[in-house]
């Protein structure tokens, strides 16, 4: 075998603390290395051309590049090999940047270590096989999980692109948080006027199947061929029959049901349609509040329903859908404001959340758009807004910025002044984060044109006083304590991962950060992909995002799916496990450890043996470590190859 070694300077990234020339020289002494050189930027066009030339000139069978992380460039160099006519798996990378030059300053030691890493790579390469990628068919349907604005956008784009889309939403209607908003920054246009038509498009699009009141139960398979089982929860109403006439909701006697859509300000009936623009516009029964379902009496809705749609005996239903790609767009939840005992959230009726305030502002909200205090229905005059409640606070485990609270608070002060010109808004803030287009102008308008008084500092406590609230805080610009008497306090609660996000991530086999937000494939270069092929992210499930960014990411995720589906077949990765049947004793250890469910036990001439489903296998190698027989081997990372590397280093 003729091996060529290329040691990259990576500018001064590597050459600054590694003698790359010496490493190349040392490499010439390794077995079967016939050519070795150092090069300025191996990944650049001239760098790659150098590799192609060397392959031809020295009749190389394999190449080692000593440079940066394979996560970025392994694919690049493999393509280079292919261009020169070699099998692309005859390539090895030694990571002498992250593992050497970036972590040590001692040039002599670094040079020695870099040499050792190259030597290990050479020994592994000597045992590489010519692997061949297979091909498999893809199912060109896509599932979007979460029907907020991000999910809606992604679903519409995919559907317009000709794909069949299944949109799964766990609430009775799509729309997400945006459907609860009154107006939206920075243009202050009506939220439901811009979202409503899109929701209707979803309902009417021939390519979209909408499952609301549904959740993903399990996910099997791999890119191109996922089997997703969806649990359609009982609505206790036959939605094929229900026309959304609302007759039942006007007659239901259980009128004290907590109103989720209105953020528990106000009540609704046990059978209800969450809001006038709901999609689908169908009634569903809240089983906890329904008198018939809890006590066996009533049944009024069934009597009045003109289409006889009520089904008290309806059960959850499981449906399985085959799709080739999945977009997760499950959004966020709001911080539980009762965790700040000093603000009295949950104890004091007129200390409310920003989303509750949004419902008070909304013409379709519980007060028909009139701002009224929950305690006595009076119109408040002095309103204090407190930002960063559940954001940027390590003490409650939320050190991150929620991104949109500065902006929606400014919006709410503007709307407040519009509704009540003689009101006064005060905003306690830490600092204003308004980096979007037209955003800083917007917060300034709140202060300068709408007279909102901004006070930089946190609030220490809120105390009831004479039917109002004493808000005690600090003005850190004046260096003074301040106290403001308020009729209403609005807490700008931050965003946290949607409930159940972690469980969903595990079903989808994607990663999530310590707070439960889904992890993108690369923070800069793969913002909508995940580390699992075929699964994409859109909107706030990846981290708090405002509407423009959520929509943009929804578009991007759809574009990724359309690009994926532009081919009819996908190449499979040959770096997967394989079982040597003679050695396998059928103990099943590999099957039980495989995190991807890629191993099944089969009957082979009357004996139980393991078998790898190659398209599911992700090449993680856990099975090879678990097998007591050494019968299951990861191609490209066989025991022999790993041992050769270890021996090179240790013997």
């Amino acid at each position: 075998m003729n091996i060529g070694v290329f040691v990259c300077h990576c500018g001064s990234n590597i050459a600054g603390t590694v003698d790359t020339e010496a490493v190349a020289k040392a490499a010439l002494g390794f077995r079967e290395v016939v050519f070795a050189t150092d090069t300025m930027y191996a990944c650049s066009e001239p760098g790659q051309a150098g590799i192609v030339d060397a392959i031809k000139e020295y009749d190389l069978d394999g190449v080692v590049v000593a440079s940066c992380t394979p996560r970025m460039h392994e694919a690049t160099f493999r393509r280079t090999l292919e261009r020169a006519g070699l099998n692309k798996y005859m390539f090895e990378m030694a990571n002498i940047r992250e593992h050497v030059s970036w972590v040590g300053k001692d040039k002599e030691a670094n040079t020695r270590k870099a040499g050792e890493l190259v030597h290990m790579a050479v020994e592994k390469l000597r045992r590489n096989d010519y692997l061949q990628a297979g091909e498999f068919e893809i199912n060109k349907r896509v599932m979007v999980i979460g029907g907020g604005v991000a999910g809606i956008q992604a679903a519409l784009d995919c559907a317009d692109g000709g794909l069949e889309v299944i949109l799964v939403e766990r609430e009775p209607s799509i729309g997400g948080k945006m459907s609860k908003l009154d107006k939206t920054f920075p243009t202050v246009d009506c939220s439901s006027c811009i979202l409503g038509p899109k929701m209707v498009d979803v309902a009417q699009h021939p390519n979209i199947t909408l499952y609301t009141l549904s959740e993903v139960d399990s996910v099997k398979g791999f890119v191109g061929n996922f089997d997703v089982t969806v649990r359609r929860k009982a609505a206790y109403v036959d939605w094929d029959a229900c026309t959304g006439c609302g007759e039942c909701t006007t007659k239901c006697p259980s009128k004290k049901t907590p109103d989720r859509f209105n953020e528990f300000i106000g009540t609704t009936t046990a059978i209800n349609i969450p809001f006038p623009q709901a999609i689908p516009k169908k009634a569903s029964i809240n089983a906890d509040a329904c008198i018939k379902l809890t006590k066996g009496k009533c049944g009024v809705c069934a009597k009045v329903c003109p289409t006889e749609a009520i089904r008290f005996d309806q059960q959850d239903e499981l449906v399985t859908e085959q799709v080739g790609a999945i977009i997760a767009a499950t959004g966020y939840d709001l911080f539980d404001f009762t965790k700040y005992g000093e603000y009295g959230g949950g104890r004091y009726p007129d200390v409310i959340t920003s989303m509750q305030y949004e419902r008070l502002l909304s013409a379709s909200g519980p007060t028909e758009g009139h701002i009224k205090r929950p305690s006595d229905g009076a119109e408040p005059k002095d309103i204090v807004f407190i930002q960063c409640v559940g954001s940027r606070d390590k003490s409650i485990g939320r050190p991150y910025c929620s991104g949109f609270c500065c902006m929606y608070t400014a919006k709410q002060t503007i709307l407040t002044k519009d509704h009540m010109p003689d009101s006064q808004s005060y905003v306690f803030y830490m600092d204003i984060r308004a980096p979007g287009k037209n955003y800083d102008e917007f917060t300034r308008r709140a202060m300068e044109e709408y007279g909102a008084r901004y006070i930089r500092g946190r609030v220490s406590a809120i105390q009831p006083k004479n039917g109002r609230y004493l808000v005690k805080g600090a003005d850190t610009l004046l260096g003074q304590q301040v106290e403001i008497e308020a009729d209403l306090v609005v807490l700008a609660v931050g965003a946290e991962a949607a409930k159940g996000a972690g469980e969903l991530a595990e079903k989808l086999r994607i990663s999530y950060d310590p707070y439960g937000f889904f992890l993108e494939g690369h923070p800069k270069l793969k913002p909508v992909e995940t580390n699992t092929a075929g699964i994409y992210l859109a909107g706030s499930c990846q981290g708090p995002k405002d509407i423009p960014s959520s929509v943009a990411q929804g578009d991007a995720a759809a574009a990724k799916v359309l690009a994926l589906f532009s081919k009819d077949k996908l190449a499979s990765d040959p770096q997967v496990s394989g079982v040597k049947l003679v050695r396998c004793i059928g103990c099943g250890k590999c099957e039980s450890v495989c995190p991807f469910g890629a191993i099944e036990m089969i009957d082979f001439r009357g004996m139980t043996k393991a078998s790898v489903i190659e398209t599911v296998c992700q090449g993680c190698g856990v099975c090879t470590a678990a097998c007591p027989q050494g019968a299951i081997q990861l191609s490209h990372f066989t025991d022999n190859q790993i041992l050769a590397e270890v021996n090179t280093l240790c013997l």
Binding site: Y340, G341, E342, G344, Q463, K465, N466
Partner: protein, 300 residues
């Protein structure tokens, strides 16, 4: 279950808050909690020492912890308790700081002995509410405090800082609320229950006390309370003894009795005014108690 504790009365317990110490001992006796006073204890430095020098403060406390260590070798102890939150904070902070081996070594050097300092340290209130359980009070109550409207005042250090005190909710504690309700009193929600009364600034900055304690009195009045109930000798002193000073400074006219919870427990247990030392309070609770007795008399 019988509980036995090394008891640290604190110096206010033998002076300005004799009535707190006496009624606390009486309460514990009737609840079956054995108190063994730490022999030859010294002042823990109270509120000023820790502000001046952490080592000094830890050494003053350390000596007492050492004596308690010796006691624990001789007999079974469930921990160290004190009625005073300020003493408690010093005891617990010192125990916390002694976890640092370097600091531990220094304190041992100054105190001149080895220290274990491993006994759990709690306030009497915490022991009654958590270890014994509030239900235990029910047996004690013979004359429920019917009709008495009170606000509970914890002061700022009974539950704070939470990492050290590890007792109840630091923003909205309920221990005292629940205890007083069990005694039969009507407990009103009190937003200022953990605000500061001004603490030891009474000697140097009376204006601060007038502002902070005045606010507590105003809020109690506004809440419609007949009386404030405290668990801290310093809070009690600022609100009770200085009430007329505060009235003068703020042009207010408060006449609000300020009880220790242990005194009210004694009253409910039928121990009578004298043994609960109600005569030690500056704002006399007599008219209030008389009115109550008259009221219940009429009702009955």
């Amino acid at each position: 279950m019988s509980l036995s504790y090394a008891y640290y009365p604190g110096c206010s317990g033998l002076g300005t808050s004799l009535e707190y110490d006496t009624s606390t001992r009486a309460l514990c006796r009737s609840l079956g909690i054995e108190l063994v006073e730490i022999p030859d204890w010294n002042c823990c430095g109270s509120t000023p020492a820790h502000a001046v020098d952490h080592l000094l403060s830890a050494c003053l406390v350390g000596r007492n912890l050492g004596i308690a260590d010796d006691m624990a070798e001789e007999r079974k102890l469930d921990g160290i308790i004190t009625p005073c939150p300020s003493c408690l904070k010093n005891l617990k902070t010192t125990q916390h700081r002694l976890a640092d081996p370097e600091f531990h070594r220094k304190v041992e050097l100054v105190v001149g002995r080895t220290l274990k300092a491993e006994l759990p340290i709690k306030s009497v209130l915490q022991v009654v509410v958590e270890d014994l359980g509030i239900q235990a009070l029910a047996k004690l109550v013979k004359e429920p405090l019917k009709g008495l409207k009170v606000v509970p005042y914890y002061g700022c250090i009974m539950v704070r800082p939470p990492q050290i005190m590890q007792f109840d909710d630091p923003e909205n504690p309920m221990a005292l609320d629940n205890l007083l309700a069990e005694l039969g009193a009507e407990v009103l929600p009190f937003p200022l229950k953990t605000d500061c009364c001004g603490a030891s600034l009474g000697t140097t900055r009376k204006d601060v006390i007038a502002k902070l304690s005045g606010r507590v009195l105003d809020a109690a009045e506004e809440a419609g309370a007949d009386a404030i109930v405290t668990a801290c000798p310093l809070c009690q002193m600022n609100l009770d003894m200085r009430q007329s000073q505060i009235n003068r400074a703020n042009h207010s006219g408060h006449n609000m009795p300020v009880f220790y919870y242990s005194q009210l427990a004694g009253l409910a247990a039928g121990q009578g005014e004298t043994s609960t030392m109600l005569d030690k309070l500056c704002v006399s609770p007599r008219p209030l108690l008389a009115a109550l007795a008259g009221h219940t008399g009429e009702g009955a």
